[in-house]
């Protein structure tokens, strides 16, 4: 028997060719494979800008990006719509290959700032073009966070578009229910009474199917945690890093939520809500008249104009008004409205090659005319301390003055500034539904949420301490 290896069915040359092809493929991939082009053909610096927006919101930003690219010959910005942007940004920064600019949400600032994932803008902004003082006082705190090492407050972001929450109400439905459409609710008590008047059922009975509700704290359900603020509560004591979910004011706020659910009928309101269409559709419950009042931002006007009822000439005909979110009678002050600030921000990740070019683009976006152009296109508030007359006059939301007044109020509130917020919010989201279903009393549920949330806060503090920058 021969010791020679049996001839390969593919032959010697074929094997060599195959090996050669593998090697050549690898070299080719390394040499010509996909990569981020950091310099364009005309020698410009290329900045990759990841943003969450699609549709008309993306188009508005792309228009500004094009205007910037045309305005100078040194920098070219490439806009890329990115789904799940906060998670993808997190991974790209951790991997050391971040985009040059990222559009995030204000609640991302603590996590990104504390871990050194983003650059402090006050350091980059040598010309003082985007300082926090430019923004309305309600917006300023979302840009700031203590430097983890020096404990000094620093500016980490700018606001792309601003959002303020207020109460929308349907004037036509108010008239039908015998309520004065020019005297909308100011206090929680008035809001509760209006809700009672606006409830409409298909037959008598407290749990009979609903045809219309006045107000539901679970619609749209994006801000499950805000109800205690209308009672003077707060969720977080930043100074002591304590969760305050079970404070008496929060308990009172969520007991009010439970009373609303009870009045509507737990099963009836769940079935009723299951019939609500998507937010950005003609089946939006506020547009169809199933819900007479809803807490929303100024952007709802876009949905109203796009999908709401129209008159004979095709113009939007939904007769609505906007007022600050009602508060308890003792807190009511017309000159100092209470409202949530929620906004889209822009940051520069750690590790970018051209931070000064990023700053040039940010400064361009932050010019008053560009900020207002974006806000108009997005149907949002201007985050700036001073809004131009033209902006307020041309804004498509008829309640823009209300939103503007809330933004400038000294009684606005924001997402608690802690890295543990995503976990705490998930607890509150689930807790709201359990309280709404009357599965557990507000007091018990909030006590559990507070205990769990404090554990999350403590875990984050332990992480900080391990890295030598605990809060103490």
């Amino acid at each position: 028997m021969s010791d020679e290896a049996p001839p390969s069915p593919l032959g010697q040359m074929t094997r060599r060719t195959a090996l050669g092809a593998l090697v050549a493929g690898g070299i080719g991939f390394a040499a010509f494979g996909p990569r981020g082009a950091k310099e364009s053909a005309d020698g410009r610096i290329v900045l990759d800008y990841w943003e969450k927006w699609t549709g008309h919101e993306a188009r508005a930003m792309m228009k500004l990006v094009d205007a910037f690219n045309s305005s100078q010959k040194r920098i070219r910005v490439r806009y890329l719509t990115t789904a799940g942007i906060d998670q993808k940004a997190l991974i790209s920064i951790a991997a050391g290959d971040p985009p040059d600019l990222v559009g995030l949400w204000n609640y991302n600032v603590p996590q990104y700032a504390e871990t050194g994932a983003i650059l402090p803008l006050d350091e980059l902004d040598t010309k003082g073009e985007v300082r926090a003082e430019r923004f309305a006082q309600g917006f300023r705190p979302v840009l700031m966070h203590p430097d983890p090492h020096t404990k000094k407050e620093r500016q980490w972001a700018v606001i792309n578009t601003g959002g303020v929450l207020a109460l929308y109400y349907n004037k036509q439905l108010f008239r039908e229910a015998g309520l004065d459409p020019e005297r909308p609710p100011r206090t929680i008590e008035e809001l509760t009474a209006a809700n009672t008047r606006l409830i409409k059922r298909s037959k008598p009975g407290s749990d009979a199917p609903l045809e219309r509700a006045g107000f539901m704290q679970t619609e749209p359900g994006w801000w499950s945690w805000i109800w205690g603020y209308s009672f003077g509560g707060s969720l977080y004591d930043a100074g002591n890093d304590r969760c305050l979910a079970a404070s008496p004011q929060n308990v009172a706020g969520f007991e009010w939520v439970q009373r609303t659910s009870e009045e509507l009928g737990v099963e009836a309101n769940k079935t009723f809500k299951a019939g609500f269409g998507n937010y950005d559709s003609p089946l939006n419950a506020f547009l169809t008249g199933k819900l007479a009042m809803v807490v929303q931002g100024p952007w709802l006007a876009n949905v109203i104009n796009a999908h709401g009822p129209k008159d004979a000439s095709g113009r939007p005909s939904l007769d609505y008004g906007v007022v600050p979110m009602p508060v308890t009678a003792d807190l009511y002050d017309a000159n100092h409205p209470v409202g949530l600030i929620d906004c889209d921000i822009m940051v520069v990740p750690r590790g970018v090659k051209h931070p000064e070019a990023c700053m040039e683009f940010i400064a361009f976006l932050q010019r008053q005319e560009n900020v207002e152009a974006m806000a108009l296109a997005h149907y949002k508030s201007s985050p700036l301390a001073v809004s131009s007359k033209a902006f307020l006059e041309n804004h498509p939301n008829r309640g823009i003055l209300t939103f503007d007044a809330i933004a400038k109020s000294d009684r606005t509130y924001r997402v608690p500034r802690t890295r543990a917020w995503p976990q705490i919010k998930d607890e509150l989201d689930a807790g709201l539904q359990r309280m709404w279903s009357l599965e557990r009393s507000a007091k018990d549920e909030l006590a559990m949420i507070e205990r769990r949330s404090q554990e999350y806060l403590d875990t984050v503090e332990a992480q900080r301490k391990q890295r030598g920058y605990g809060r103490a």
Partner: protein, 301 residues
């Protein structure tokens, strides 16, 4: 050429041909697994370097209420889903094994749902189970409406959330049905005929002949189902996010919590520890099944 050289050349040829797989295995599977094992012993917020914390992440699971909740919920899902999916797919395979008209059509009809992407499947069921306009509740209303019976809020009612997820998952058992059908066709007709001549009824024949004959396939399918059940993610993830008024925690499963820890909460070390615990649970249960199979599974060899 010496025999040693020839052997080396043969080995080299083999390594070259398996190298693409080997590269993928080392770089995309074994490497990440070992790295995640290391991370599981660290505090790793993703944006900062990991710090060695020993068994802290594993200890944390013992006191983490949410971890306990998701583990128990996932176990309940597996306990409900595996027997139901096995029984249902066997029953459907049994029916398809009969010589019926348009059998090919029914086989295709059963298999098609497995081709629908998970996200599409979730969206379809979101509407099927909608409390007000859903097809299922409309049927209930049409049939039992005269007695005042109305359908429940399948997805928004936390008491029914688990049943809904099981129901949706059962929609995609076509692949198992095909495997069972192939196994049933392998059961020798003469054996069944002989048993019938000996006076065995159809149920007895199924229990005493068919089940032992296809028991290796049942074992394979049950293990596959168990692994899938412990990893359930896409359907509850999409449905809980899109269900108005539902308690999102009633559809919160093990892998969802692991994902949140890793990519939303900045707790990659804890998420890695959870992944390893999940792997150990899966390996443990698989080992138990193999041990049990020694007595319960019949191999022709």
């Amino acid at each position: 050429m010496s025999s040693r050289t020839a052997q080396l050349k043969r080995d080299l040829t083999g390594w070259i041909w398996v190298s693409p797989w080997l590269f993928g295995f080392l770089v995309f599977l074994l490497g990440p697994m070992l790295v995640s094992l290391y991370y599981s012993f660290t505090d790793y917020p993703l944006l900062e370097p990991p710090i060695w914390t020993g068994l802290a992440n594993y200890r944390r699971m013992l006191t983490d209420d949410t971890f306990r909740d998701v583990l128990w919920r996932t176990a309940r899902f597996a306990i409900l889903f595996i027997p139901l999916a096995t029984a249902l797919s066997l029953a459907i395979a049994g029916l398809l094994n009969e010589r019926v008209k348009a059998g090919g059509f029914f086989q295709a009809a059963v298999f098609i749902p497995t081709l629908v992407p998970m996200a599409g499947s979730a969206m379809i069921w979101l509407w099927m189970l909608n409390g007000e306009y859903g097809l299922i509740n409309q049927v209930i209303k049409a049939v039992l409406g005269w007695a005042g019976v109305t359908g429940p809020n399948w997805l928004a009612d936390s008491r029914l959330a688990m049943a809904s997820i099981v129901m949706i998952s059962l929609w995609s058992i076509g692949q198992m049905v095909v495997v069972y059908l192939a196994a049933l066709k392998e059961v020798p007709d003469e054996m069944l005929e002989a048993a019938a001549l000996d006076g065995m009824g159809p149920i007895r024949r199924f229990i005493s002949i068919v089940l032992p004959m296809i028991s290796p396939v049942i074992l394979f399918n049950v293990i596959t189902l168990m692994i899938g059940a412990l990893q359930i993610f896409a359907i509850p993830y999409i449905i809980s996010a899109a269900t108005p008024g539902g308690d999102p925690r009633s559809m919160y499963f093990y892998t969802m919590y692991m994902y949140d820890n890793g990519f939303r909460y900045g707790q990659m070390g804890y998420a890695s520890a959870q992944a390893w615990v999940q792997l150990l649970i899966t390996l443990g249960l698989t080992a138990v099944m193999f041990l049990a199979s020694r007595k319960l599974v019949h191999y022709r060899s």
